[in-house]
Amino acid sequence: MDPVEVVGSDMSTMGQVLFAVCGVLALVTAITTITQRTPLRAAMALLGHILALAGLYITLHAQLLAAIQLIVYAGAVVVLFVFVIMLIGPGALDRPPDERGVRTKIIGAATVAMLTGAIAFQVGEATAPLTTIHTCPEGAGDCVEFGGVAALSHAIFVGAAVPFELVSMLLLVAIIAAIAIARGVHAGERRSEVEGVDMAEKLPIRPTVLDPLPASPGSERDLDAPAE
């Protein structure tokens, strides 16, 4: 079935409502994330932020990316954060006193707010010409939709196959690095290594230690004795 051409910039009322809800939710949850004192509450706010962004992706006709966002971020990254918070326990809490002055904080926040406001108002003026995208009608069979699984997979596996493989290598390296860093060296392991060195230095004494070992042929003889 042929895709339907949709004029790009006319967003449906439903899309506008979804954009308004998800946009406000994303802003509120982002502010909540950076202002919460408890890391677990911040992680939950981050989860809400990610859900809101998935909704924004849907308004942008990026359905597969919204699903990937939910799987990777809500399913993996936030869970990883919560795991680490649980692992660390009360040590993850902020110390109540902040030694830096209020003035420094106000100046920093004002600078960031001014820069952000300037950028936001500048890019807010941006307009784009009307564009057409391919969407499928309800119940269409094999129809390649913009941002759908078929179209995006084709773009990734045909247009960007080598970067995709490189990303898989990157993830493998990141897994190994994470294990190597988080594993650390325990005190017990270090002591056993030192003992190993000591054993190697005492090698000349070893034959005297090993002397009792030739007793094993004797025991074999003992086993043979009843046979005689």
Partner: protein, 102 residues
């Protein structure tokens, strides 16, 4: 109010600013990592919205896909470093990560 490309870009810029402010003002490494995630998400929103208004290819969405993958790797390594630091110093304050300073 017509929702256009500029609306999305302004929203993404504000989200990026919130993430940057969080990264600069918080001293808890966990919250700093979360602020980095907010910033990466804002960039993703920019990429996807540009792709929406230039739909001849899927370049923006493919790029956002790679950014998501790299953000996941970054979170894994960052949290591993955090656990290692916590084991060493019994704290997650980034101010106290000063082993290389002395």
């Amino acid at each position: 109010m017509a929702i256009g490309l500029g609306t999305y870009l302004a929203l993404a810029a504000v989200l990026f600013g919130i993430g940057a402010a969080g990264f600069l003002t918080r001293r808890n490494l966990l919250l700093q990592l979360m602020s980095i995630e907010i910033m990466l998400n804002a960039v993703n929103l920019t990429l996807v919205s540009f792709n929406r208004w230039s739909p001849a290819t899927h370049a923006g969405q493919v790029f956002a896909f790679f950014v998501i993958a790299i953000a996941a790797a970054e979170a894994a390594v960052g949290l591993a470093i955090l656990i290692s630091l916590f084991r060493l110093k019994k704290t997650v304050e980034s101010d106290r990560a000063d082993l290389l300073r002395h």
